[in-house]
Subunit: 333 residues, 2 copies
């Protein structure tokens, strides 16, 4: 990883690596009903985590639904874990970069999310925990198939590497579609993060490796690093082009979005997504000065459950819109 | 005039008094073609003005059209004077409160505009000039009809007193229409300042006395003072009511308008009118702090000809929208 890789926050929102592991001799979670065995596995994973990083522990059974939803909104656990997994458990590192889910689709799912472009960094962090877990628990591994997983699409490295990328210019110009098609043919999935299909809300896309069979972790990371850095390059060029082409019209649109964020008294999450995407583009085009990470965090901080937790109230939609606008004003002013 | 009268800037944008005078023995302007007599009258009026206030002198013949339009946009001369009066002349006081037009519909039309509620003040200022003019020129006056004017509707006191009032709450609630009907029956005209009929753009209305026959100047002023102060009272109550009723919805709309004014990079005059009206309402409801006079001046300062004069360029519509937004940002930040 070179210095240039680290410096892609103008395009790469975050990088995520996920590893799926299962315990040899134990039925997969959807067929697992032995409380004692589950408790034993939980203890072993806890011991392994403790050796690497300080974590908080969350048990899904009887868990407060607001608190559970907050973890989902922060992308620390899957919605599935909170809704469909009675034996679901999560360990979350204090800095909220690493989380380990137990008894979701697989026995153990480890995940690391870091800001900006950092797949290698994320993978290295996870590897430490993964090694500790392998020391305390027998992991299901076949020399022929690699890591065994509940769903065959995850077999092999059982690793998914993904980057959340911000592609306003490639979206506005429509160029993104040819990238999506090309990647699809090469086992890379691109999807809009909040919208459906390629209709990306806030111009955010998640790029991830589709299958891991027959590829090593290193090969997956290298391929993803290459794909993302090409996207970054294309997006940067496209931005300069639309800035030149659209001129004052685009600047007006962006600056109005910024003014609205600074002064509005109610705002839906959909509108916040749209406005902050424009403002982020404005930062990248140097129309205005604002911290990109702060803008990205605003999206998470103003999700429904996170808002309720923050205000300590069970807010309805209209009340959330007011609370959301208030947070946006405070954080940006 | 009491202290309360002076303190109506939250509703009364400006007050204007206009006096029409004609020189005895001289044909009315539309029938006047003697250059020497016109020059003589001009000299006499200049002498009279000089005794009271320092003025700038503008002759319409051969006058730069941009400069002429600037005077119109500032409401210092009528469009008619600049377009249809070959012998048209204007004296404008340095502080731009007083203007005297020669050879418009009447030989001499004197006008004084002051900020806020100040019809009495405006009338007193004009009276000084009017007395000086009457000393140097024989004014056409009939004991039976009063001052003689080219159009019979102006006969009598030949005075029009008007107030430009800002009535957002009475407009939003529709209550303004009953006021307009009632005033109509009592010889008071109410019309939208920039829009057609009662469709007031920017919630601005001009209230003026319709006929002056049979009424003294004092009676006209008293009636207008009464009408305006009642409107002010009604508008203030209506504002408190809509603020209570509309709550956060109105505040959101107002604050977004303010944010847009502070950050937009292009803006039509129509949009500026709408946004600044909302912002002015916001100032009156104490949602934000901004100088009302400054907001009112923005409307004039960003009119087409005034913009061209300011930038020293013959701007097209799109360029004016950019220049207008730039002025708005600079003045408000």
């Amino acid at each position: 990883m070179n210095a240039n890789m680290q410096d892609m926050k103008d395009v790469v929102y975050s990088s995520r690596v996920r590893l799926a592991r299962n315990v040899r001799g134990l039925p997969f979670p959807h067929r697992l009903h032995g409380e004692e065995e589950i408790y034993k596995m939980m203890q072993k994973v806890k011991e392994a985590c403790d050796k690497v990083v300080a974590t908080d522990f969350y048990q899904m059974r009887g868990f407060d639904p607001i608190e559970a939803q907050v973890l989902v909104e922060k992308h620390l656990v899957s919605p599935q874990l909170t809704q469909e997994c009675p034996y679901g458990v999560a360990f979350v590192s204090k800095d909220e970069t690493i989380s380990v889910m137990l008894n979701e689709e697989d026995h153990i799912r480890q995940q690391c999310i870091v800001e900006g472009m950092g797949l290698d960094r994320a993978y290295e962090s996870l590897s430490q925990i993964d090694r500790e877990i392998a020391k305390t628990l027998p992991i299901a591994y076949s020399p022929e198939w690699g890591y065994l997983t509940a769903c065959p699409t995850n077999l092999g490295a059982a690793m998914r590497a993904s980057a959340m990328v911000f592609l306003p210019a490639l979206t506005m110009t429509g160029v993104i579609n040819s990238f999506i098609r090309k990647y699809q043919e090469n086992g890379i999935t691109t999807r809009g993060v909040y919208g459906e299909g390629s209709q990306a809300e806030g111009y955010l896309y998640q790029i991830s490796n589709q299958a891991a069979i027959g590829m090593s972790e290193r090969e997956i990371l290298d391929r993803m690093n290459l794909v993302v850095s090409k996207l970054v390059e294309a997006e940067r060029i496209a931005r300069q082009n639309i800035a030149k082409h659209e001129g004052i019209k685009l600047k007006d649109k962006i600056m109005r979005a910024y003014g609205t964020m600074l002064y509005a008294y109610k705002m839906s999450s959909q509108e916040l997504m749209e406005l902050s995407a424009l403002v982020k583009l404005g930062v990248c085009l140097q129309y205005l000065d604002c911290d990109l990470s702060k803008l990205n965090r605003l999206i998470v901080e103003s999700q429904p459950a996170t808002l309720c937790k923050l205000t300590g109230k069970n807010l309805n939609v209209a009340e959330r819109d007011v609370a959301r606008a208030s947070i946006v004003r405070k954080k940006l002013n």
